[in-house]
């Protein structure tokens, strides 16, 4: 009997007697006999000590931020996470709780959601935020669906080619059954002006990422004006860390803001679980997918929190719901809430400054090397593309031997850039790390 099961044989006997069954197998007689109790071939069970040995062996085969200096970003970022974040996350009251369906005994989760919503609004300059999506990509795709539902007689989405390539793939997956046209990113070299030229009266939304996949920061104001003039919405995909320093999408006129929240207190985790941030202007709240927590009072007049506006959701609207999101990223939402509270106003600005200045230092040093050329135009934030003298895969292999994880190879997604790599510098890359990278790149030229 497994050590997770608490009943004795005697308990089981007593329960069977109460039920009136002679053995447990009898409870499964409804299962067709010819397929009942099949042979299942799995490795034999391991003791906890053996298990940890095997897990350590598997984990030990993966390069990571503790074994390597990491200059790879491209949608997953090595940012500092204060120790207190995980310490609080590991409180069983948070991580072993479920969706707060019974608000009176879920005030911890509900208050955290409420505070998260407030923090996201403050960070993005938007009116309302929900309790999270699966990741930045799915948040962006659901924003497109919401834009289609919020505008009249529109059937196309315009998306810039500098939006994360994987996000654009997810966008296409999400819209493939709805007969919607997705345009704008056919040519990976298209400029934002080229993309804007495709905005017309059929456009439900324009999707732009800033800083974009190649690192460049864009002014959203003129983009918002252009798409609003055509009767569409602006969906801005942003880096929440950059918002410690740069213009908020809310101030620039974006209607829906989505972001990957992994940078706010969540480890790289080989790609997940991450956090989809989703915020919008007030007039769209009732069309927003996902959960919302609202403040209210109890019978004693004490302030408390509940899930609210649930009539938007699938468990009530069923086939009339416009999203099926149910399980979200509750614990990741909590991590980023704690993270934002710890960093606070000063920490968020300081981290953004560290990223900006260190990235610019690294870019300037690399651009000086013979054979390398900075491709991303100013202004950029923490990522930039560099044209390299040799294929990126070759450079990365050589860097790995020097304990460095190099940049993202842009060739497959942006062939017009030739041998170019996307490098990322955050507050985790010290000047000494950057100098080591520059020295290695110089050798490899």
């Amino acid at each position: 009997m497994s050590h997770y099961i608490s009943n004795t044989d005697q308990d089981r006997r007593a329960m069977l007697d109460a039920i009136g069954a002679s053995n447990i197998a009898e409870l499964f007689e409804v299962v067709p006999e010819e397929v009942r109790f099949p042979h299942v071939e799995l490795p034999p069970p391991l003791s906890e000590a053996e298990l940890l040995r095997e897990l350590n062996r598997l984990a030990g085969r993966n390069a990571n931020t503790q074994t390597h200096r990491v200059f790879l970003g491209a949608g997953a970022y090595n940012h500092f996470v204060p120790t207190a974040v995980d310490a609080l996350l590991r409180r069983a009251e948070f991580y072993t709780a479920y969706t707060p369906y019974q608000p009176e005994i879920s005030q911890g989760t509900l208050q955290a959601i409420f505070e998260y919503q407030t923090l996201i609004c403050a960070l993005t300059g938007m009116d309302a935020a929900n309790a999270s999506h699966y990741d930045g990509a799915t948040a962006m795709a659901e924003a497109a669906v919401m834009a289609l539902n919020s505008t009249r007689n529109k059937h196309s989405i315009v998306v810039a080619p500098t939006v994360h390539p994987q996000y654009r793939m997810v966008l296409r997956s999400y819209l493939q059954g709805l007969g919607i046209k997705i345009v704008g990113d056919e040519d990976p070299a298209a400029s934002l002006e080229d993309v804007l030229a495709q905005v017309d009266s059929s456009t439900a939304a324009l999707i732009v990422q800033t800083p974009d996949f190649l690192g460049q920061i864009h002014d959203l104001k003129p983009l918002a004006e252009r798409v609003h003039a055509a009767g569409g919405l602006l969906i801005a995909q942003v880096d929440p860390v950059a918002l410690g320093l740069f213009q908020t999408p809310g101030a620039a006129g974006a209607d829906i803001v989505t972001a990957e929240g992994q940078s706010l207190g969540i480890p790289l985790g080989f790609g997940g679980p991450y956090l989809g941030i989703f915020a919008c202007k007030e007039q769209y709240i009732r069309r927003m997918p996902g959960r919302l927590a609202g403040a209210t009072t109890d019978l004693d007049g004490q302030v408390g929190y509940v899930l609210t506006l649930q009539t938007r959701e699938q468990h009530i609207r069923r086939e009339k719901a416009t999203s099926n999101i149910c399980t979200n990223q509750g614990l990741m939402m909590l991590a980023s809430t704690i993270h934002m509270c710890l960093l606070g106003k000063h920490g968020l600005r300081h981290v953004a400054r560290l990223c900006y200045h260190r990235a610019h230092y690294a870019a300037a040093e690399i651009a000086r090397l013979p054979g390398y050329e900075l491709v991303t135009p100013e202004p950029f934030f923490k990522e930039f593309a560099v044209r390299a003298p040799r294929p990126v895969a070759e450079i990365n292999r050589a860097l790995a031997q020097r304990g460095i994880i190099g940049g993202y190879d842009l060739k497959a997604d942006y062939p017009q850039l030739g041998d170019a790599m996307l490098l990322c510098v955050t507050e985790m890359n010290t000047k000494a790390d950057i100098d080591a990278l520059v020295a290695a790149l110089k050798e490899l030229a």
Partner: protein, 504 residues
């Protein structure tokens, strides 16, 4: 009872910081002044680490969780979360690895994914598994997209209807609609199963597939599952299995062997990755060989001794960035390796035994929706003969006073006043007996004085909350003035000494 904890924004004080950050060690570059934010990050709090720690510790204490007590939420499968899982997922080689690093430098992570794919395939009888979907609902979405692509490739463009039983999870019809399918509801029969006559009348050349939860959301195994699959297949449709209730049938039956073509696994339910207050989940999907080319990517394949990520050739695309909720995959892998095939079978046996025990113990007082052997969960009705005015919601709230998380209420919607109870295999007989006692006491209280139930809960951090007011005038973020107003407008409270509190 816990005391009120103000919103963290009320604790903020100028100049404080709760994180120890590095100093700038490079020369400053010029900043694009016209693009900087000009609001001084207004609304962001300023707090010390001490204050943040205390705030979140305090609010955590206002939560019920599986580590503090029985959580019989039907359909949600709240079983014990093993502690070794948390250590496993936090090993630096897993938690600190970048998803885009050279696969050559991620062979351990990829091996774990490859093995988990094969374990899930073996448990369900399917040929291929994709670990990418981030939650059950996303697994459903992937599945219906796969059905659509499969039919289209065969020139079967007219298959635009998805059949969904009336007892299904709300995600099923919502998913079908998201894919642009028409949802056709199939009625339940008198024994709580899919009504075969109704099913037959709704099958047509337009049928793309049937979405079926088995055991279903009434906690019952579909008696005619093979017949249902035969009918759907004969009509040219495909069988989608909602794996929400897989916990009941590990090692008992393989879904593929009763006729399913595709299913999702809720790793956070059956394979006990923690629910985290609403997520993260993981909605891995498995399918037959015929559907495998359409699976969402990426899938891990083995080439000689090397593991690689590969998008299936006719894939519906990606449904998420990167490779799925990897941290959840580590936990699920750990669970399967801890228990092995025999241990997993014991899980289902004990889950079903526990649910049937609660069924027979509660049946004399609470009507059972369908009077037959159940699987891992049982649906009762909160309709008491001796207290007709009692409502399920009141019973649920009173349970809180006795130290239990209430069951799932008002679901499935096909059962009036539904109370859906799932004890799971990790619950003890002792706790279940205490739960039964509490349920019986509540029924007696309801017969004697309904106000006891109406006033419940009295022992939680807050009393019953005004949900109608919250929806009518939504306050979705902190605002000092609105909070003051909220307090002023609150209704008169029942004096504390007049509240009925339970005696333990």
């Amino acid at each position: 009872m816990n005391t009120y904890e103000p919103p963290i924004f009320e604790l903020s004080g100028t100049g404080k910081i709760g994180a120890n950050l590095p100093a700038l060690d490079v020369p400053e570059a010029a900043l694009p002044q016209e693009l900087l934010r000009d609001d001084d990050l207004q609304g962001m709090p300023e707090l010390s680490e001490t204050e943040v720690t205390r705030h979140f510790t305090r609010i955590s204490q206002r939560n019920f969780c599986i580590d503090t007590g029985m959580y019989p939420l039907g359909s949600c499968t709240m079983k014990y979360n093993p502690k070794v899982h948390e250590e496993a997922a936090r090993l630096p080689g897993f938690a600190q690895a970048h998803p885009l690093q050279d696969p050559e430098q991620a062979q351990g992570a990829l091996q774990l994914m490859y093995e988990l794919q094969s374990y899930l395939a073996e448990l369900s009888g399917f040929d291929q598994v994709s670990l990418q979907p981030a939650a059950g609902a996303q697994g459903e979405f992937s599945g219906i997209l796969v059905f659509r692509a499969y039919h289209r490739d065969r020139g079967d463009d007219q298959r635009t209807e998805i059949l969904v039983p009336d007892s299904a999870h709300g995600t099923n019809p919502a998913t079908a609609a998201m894919v642009g399918m028409r949802v056709v509801e199939v009625k339940s029969g008198p024994r709580g199963n899919c009504n075969l006559e109704d099913l037959k009348s709704k099958l047509s050349p337009r049928t793309a597939g049937l979405m079926l939860t088995n055991p279903n959301t009434l906690g019952l195994f579909e008696e005619n599952i093979q017949e249902i699959a035969r009918l759907v297949h004969e009509a040219g449709g495909l069988m989608y299995g909602d794996g929400a209730n897989f916990n009941a049938i590990l090692g008992i039956v393989k879904p593929r062997e009763v006729g399913f073509d595709f299913m999702h696994y809720n790793l956070h339910k059956t394979f006990t990755t923690p629910h985290g207050g609403g997520g993260p989940g993981s909605g891995a999907v498995g399918c037959t060989e015929a559907l495998a080319p359409y699976l969402p990517g990426s899938i891990v394949v083995k080439q000689g001794e090397r593991y690689e990520l590969r998008q299936p050739e006719r894939s519906i695309g990606r449904v998420k960035s990167f490779w799925g909720n990897f941290g959840m995959l580590v936990r699920a892998w750990t669970y399967i390796r801890t228990l092995g095939a025999a241990g997993l079978k014991e899980v289902s046996e004990n889950a079903v035994l526990n649910a049937n025990y609660l069924r027979v113990k509660l049946q004399p007082v609470y009507p059972v929706a369908y009077d037959r052997t159940c699987m891992h969960e049982v649906v009762l009705k909160g309709q008491l003969r001796q207290a007709p005015e009692a409502r399920t919601l009141d019973i649920a709230k009173r349970l809180i006073d006795y130290g239990f998380h209430p069951p799932t209420v008002y679901f499935p919607i096909s059962v009036p006043e539904a109370l859906m109870i799932e004890p799971t295999e990790t619950e003890t007989k002792r706790n279940m007996d205490a739960f039964v006692d509490a349920m019986i006491t509540i029924a007696q209280e309801a017969a004697e004085d309904m106000s006891i139930l109406r006033n419940a809960p009295t022992t939680a951090a807050v009393r019953r909350l005004d949900e109608v007011g919250a929806a009518r005038r939504p306050i979705l973020k902190y605002d000092r003035a609105k909070f003051r107003e909220l307090r002023r407008e609150a209704p008169e409270a029942t004096p504390d000494d007049q509240l009925e509190r339970p005696t333990y």
